[in-house]
C-alpha cells in the first residue's frame, strides 16, 4: 500500500500525528496570575529551578538472547594473531590456477595419466542396469528434482540493463549433491561386499591445514562434499619415468596472490575424523564446483586452470590434514607417502586426480616433491534439461562411470 495515496484521504492516525505536532509547539500565554499574586504579597518562584537536576543515567541491562552472540572481531578476540595467515577457502580460487597451486604445494604434474590400476579397472564394463541407474540419476538431478529456488540472474551482454524474468529451478548445489550421491550409491550397490564393508562415507565435512612456506603462513580450509574413507591407507603403484610438468616460475606474481590475509585463525590443522575411528584413512574425496558459490575475489569469471587448481589444493588439504593427524603437526618429509583420490565435478565435467603426498617441506623447488596424477575434462553428458517441455539427456558417456567405479574399487 502506497503511503501517499492514503495520506490524501481521511486518516485518523495521520490527523492525530499532525495535531500533536501543532499542539507540541504551544507558546505559554501570560495569564496575569503572577502580577495578581505579587500584589497580594505571595512570593513567586521560577519552576525551572526545581527541575534543574538531570535524572541519573540508568544502568544498561544486559539482555541475554535466545542465542549466543558471536564475539566481536577485534584484538581481544581469542583467535586474534598479529601475524597474518593467507587463507584459501573452498569458495575462492587461486589467480594462476593449477600453476600457482603447484608452487604452493610443491607438486609436479603428470597430465592425462592415472595410476595403471585405475586405468585397468576403468576398462571394466558395467552391466546395463547400472548405466540405466546413472542415466536416471542424471535426469533426476537435472530434470525431475522438484526444487524451485531462485537461479542466478540472466544477463545479456548486448543490453546489460535489461531485466529478464527470474527463473526458479534446481540450484547447482542441489544438482551436484543429488548426482554425486546417487552415482556413489550405485557404485556401492554394484560393488563387492568386501569393498563396501571396508569403506565409510561422510557428507560435507570440513578439513583444515595450516603450514609455512617461505616465511608466509598459509591455511587451506576446504569442505569435502563426499569423503570416502577406508580401513587401511590407500596405496598406488606409481610410475616414475613419465614426463612430469615441473613446478613453474610465477614471477612477477607472488604465490600468495588472491589469498586474503586473515588475523583470526587457529594454528592447528583439522582432519574431520578422529584417530580412534578404524575407518578413518581418506580414500576418495569428492569436490563440487558450484558456479554460484565459487568466485574470484576480483569478480572475473572462473577459468578452467583455476578449477583444476582447486582439485589439487583440495586433495592437498585433505591429505595434509590427515598426515598431520598421523605424524604430528610439524612433520616435514613423510616416512611413507600419503595417497588420496580426488574427483571434482560441476555435474557435467569430471576431473579425476590422484595426489601422492611425499613432503610437507614446501620451501623452494629442491628436494622431494609431491606428485599429482590427473585426468581432466571428462564429460558425463552433453545436455540434460527440459527442452521445449520434454526431458532430455543427450550423449551419455559411459566411460566416466568406469573411472568413478575404478576410483572407488582401487
Amino acid at each position: 500500500m502506497k503511503l501517499s495515496q492514503v495520506l490524501n484521504r481521511q486518516h485518523i492516525g495521520f490527523m492525530f500525528k499532525k495535531h500533536w505536532l501543532v499542539q507540541g509547539k504551544r507558546v505559554p500565554i501570560d495569564t496575569g496570575v503572577e502580577e495578581v499574586l505579587r500584589a497580594k504579597g505571595i512570593p513567586v518562584e521560577d519552576a525551572l529551578e526545581f527541575v534543574k537536576e538531570k535524572p541519573e543515567p540508568r544502568e544498561r541491562i544486559n539482555i541475554v538472547g535466545q542465542y549466543e552472540q558471536p564475539l566481536p572481531l577485534d584484538q581481544n578476540h581469542p583467535d586474534y594473531k598479529e601475524r597474518p595467515c593467507y587463507t584459501l577457502k573452498n569458495t575462492n580460487v587461486l589467480l594462476e590456477g593449477i600453476a600457482q597451486a603447484q608452487v604452493i604445494t610443491k607438486t609436479i604434474l603428470a597430465e592425462d595419466k592415472l595410476p595403471q590400476k585405475i586405468e585397468e579397472l576403468a576398462e571394466v564394463v558395467a552391466p546395463k542396469t547400472v548405466h540405466d541407474g546413472v542415466k536416471k540419476a542424471i535426469l533426476s538431478a537435472n530434470v525431475f528434482d522438484t526444487e524451485q529456488k531462485k537461479l542466478p540472474k540472466i544477463k545479456d551482454p548486448e543490453r546489460p540493463a535489461y531485466n529478464f524474468p527470474r527463473i526458479l529451478g534446481i540450484t547447482d548445489r542441489r544438482r551436484n549433491q543429488i548426482l554425486t550421491n546417487k552415482i556413489l550409491q550405485l557404485v556401492e550397490r554394484s560393488s563387492d561386499t568386501e569393498a563396501t564393508l571396508s569403506k565409510y562415507v561422510v557428507n560435507d565435512v570440513e578439513c583444515k591445514t595450516v603450514f609455512d612456506k617461505e616465511d608466509d603462513l598459509i591455511q587451506f580450509q576446504d569442505v569435502s562434499n563426499i569423503l570416502v574413507t577406508s580401513n587401511k591407507p590407500l596405496t598406488h603403484d606409481t610410475e616414475k619415468d613419465i614426463p612430469f610438468v615441473e613446478i613453474p616460475d610465477l614471477y612477477p606474481i607472488k604465490h600468495t596472490i588472491t589469498m586474503p590475509p586473515e588475523h583470526f585463525y587457529t594454528e592447528t590443522s583439522k582432519y574431520p575424523i578422529r584417530p580412534t575411528v578404524s575407518m578413518r584413512h581418506p580414500h576418495t574425496t569428492w569436490l563440487h564446483f558450484n558456479s554460484t558459490e565459487v568466485n574470484n575475489i576480483y569478480e572475473t569469471p572462473v577459468t578452467l586452470p583455476q578449477i583444476l587448481g582447486r582439485s589439487l589444493t583440495h586433495a592437498f588439504t585433505v591429505a595434509t590434514s590427515y598426515a598431520k593427524q598421523l605424524y604430528g603437526e610439524n612433520v616435514k618429509d613423510l616416512p611413507e607417502p600419503v595417497y588420496i583420490n580426488c574427483i571434482q565435478t560441476d555435474g557435467q565435467n569430471y576431473h579425476f586426480g590422484v595426489l601422492e603426498l611425499n613432503t610437507l617441506n614446501l620451501d623452494g623447488k629442491e628436494g622431494a616433491t609431491n606428485v599429482w596424477y590427473c585426468k581432466n575434462n571428462l564429460k558425463l553428458y552433453d545436455s540434460s534439461r527440459y527442452f521445449s517441455g520434454m526431458p532430455v539427456l543427450e550423449n551419455y558417456n559411459p566411460k566416466v562411470y568406469g573411472y568413478i567405479n575404478a576410483f572407488y574399487n582401487c
Partner: protein, 549 residues
Amino acid sequence: MHLYKMHRKITNLKKILIRRYSQAALLDQNEYTETPEYPPILDMSLKARKLREREKLHEKIKNVNTVEEKQIALNMPRYYGWKCVMLHEDKVPYNAMPMIQCYTRSHFIPIEKLPPTYTESALTAEIVVKEIKNLVEDAICIEHEGVDHSFAVTLEKPVESQKSDALANVLVKQINRIITNNLADKVPHILSAQVDYDPRHEAFWFVGGVDVPSNVIKWRKQYPWLKDRLDEPVDRPVQYLGAPFLAMRSHFPLKPILEYSEAENPEFKVPKFTYKPDTVGYFHAYRHGTNIPGYWPGDHDEFGLLSYHGRGHILNRNVSFGTEDNLEALHCQAMLASFGWLLAQANYQGFTTYNDLTYPLVTQTIITDGQLWSFYAYQLNTILMHNEKIDENPKHNICFGTKPLKLYEKVENGKVYGFNEDVLKLLVQLYLNTPEEREYDLKPYLGREEQVIADIEDDNKRCWLEKRYKHLVSNRPKHLLLPEIYLWEKIYKIEHKTRFFEPNRRPFELGINPFKRRLNEHLPPYIPKALRPYPKHKKKFETTYYPDV
C-alpha cells in the same frame, strides 16, 4: 469508400435473408416406441442444480488427459490461490489427533509388531540383521563421537530441535547405506530403487463437513433463498508440506497390507471432526494447491517405498502437553506424512481429490531421532472427502504404527550400550517388503497417448503448459499485491457510510469479490505487431491452453 461499405452491408443482409442449407423434415417411422421413454426426472431445486454443476466439474477434471493439466484444473477457480489450511509436518499443536485422523480419513491401529504381510520376510531379516549389526553399531559410534560435523544453525527454529534433526539425518543416511548395500544382491528391487535426500513432499485436497465460518453465514444471510441453509457445511482446501530426510521409491507399488474390500469395513470408521481448524491451532494461507511427491511427472520410479522423518519438533513442544500427547503428535506426523506422500503419488496416477482411487496404495514411514524409532505402515484406500462425499464414502485409510522404540541405550567411549536388534529387524523388514507389478490399469483416468505434458505433440501447447504448471506449483509471489480492503475503507466506507458522495469504484462497492477471480481471467501476453504472422494478422494476444473445466 461508400461503395465498399454498401457492398459489405448487402452481403451481411444476404446472410440473413438467403437460406443456404435446408433439410427435409425427417419422417422417422421408429419415432414411436411401445413403452414411452421419458427423459430422467431431474430435481430442479437450487441445491440439486448446484450439485449437478459440481459433479459435472468433477467429471470434466476426470476426463482431462495429463497429470499436470489436472493439477492446473484443480486450481482453476482461484486466481490468487485457495485459502488453505496449512498442515506442516513439524508443527503439531496440542490434541491434534482427532482432526488429523478426520482430515486424512485414517483409522489408526497401534501395533507391537508389523502386520501379517511382513511375516514372510522375518527369517531373511534375522540373517541380514546378524550381518549388519556390527556395522550399524560402528556407524552410530562414528557419527556420535568420531566425525566433526558442522551443522548450519538457522534462527527460525530452536537450536535443540535442529541439532536433533541434524544428527538423525546423518545417522539415517549411514543406516540406509548399510542396509541397501547389504540387500542389493539379495533382493532385486533395491538396486533399481532411487533414494532422494531432502525431497519436497506436498499434497493438496479438500475436506468437507467443516463448520461454517462466520463470514460465510453473514454472506448467506443476505439471500432469502439461503435462509434455511445457513449452517450447511463447506469445503476446506487443505495443504500439507513435508520434508523427509530420505525417501526411497521404485517403479512398482508395494503390495496392499489388507484386501481392498477391507477398506469399507465399518470397524475402521473415523470419528468426524467438524470444528474449525483454527480451534486446534492450524492457520490459513493463500496458495495454489500443489501435489508433489518429490519428483516431477514423467519420472520412471513413481511409487514410494519408505520415507524417514525427524522428530526434533517434539522438543519444541510445551512440557505441559505431556508424554501421551507427544506420542499422539508422532502418530499425527506419520499419518500426515504417509497420507500426503501417497496422495501426491495418487495424483501422478491421474486421481484427484474429486476422483477416487480405484486400488490401494501403500507406504512405510519411519520417524526417528537416531535413538528412538517409530515405524508406520499406511494403506491409502480413498482420497474422496470433499463436502458431498465425506459422509457417503464408506472407505477409510488404515495406519499401523508402533510406539517409539529404542535402538540403543547410550553411546560412551566409542561403544554402544543396550543395542536392540529387534528394532533393526523391523527396519530391515521394511526394506525387504518387495514392490510388485499390479494386474490392473494403474492410470485409468489418464489419456491413452498423453499421460504427462511431455507426451503432447503440439509444441506450443506443450511448452505453454510446462511453463504454466511449474509457475503455478512454485507458488512464487505475485507481481502485484493481493487485493485488500484498507482499514480506513472498512471504517468509513463499509461500517459507517460516511463517504456516500464518492463514486463507487472499489470492488467491494461494486459487489465483486476479487478472490473469486478465476485462474484464466487475465490478459494473455500481447504479440507486438512486428512479430505477428505475415501478411495481415489480427491476433493480438497469444493463445492460452488452460484446461476446459
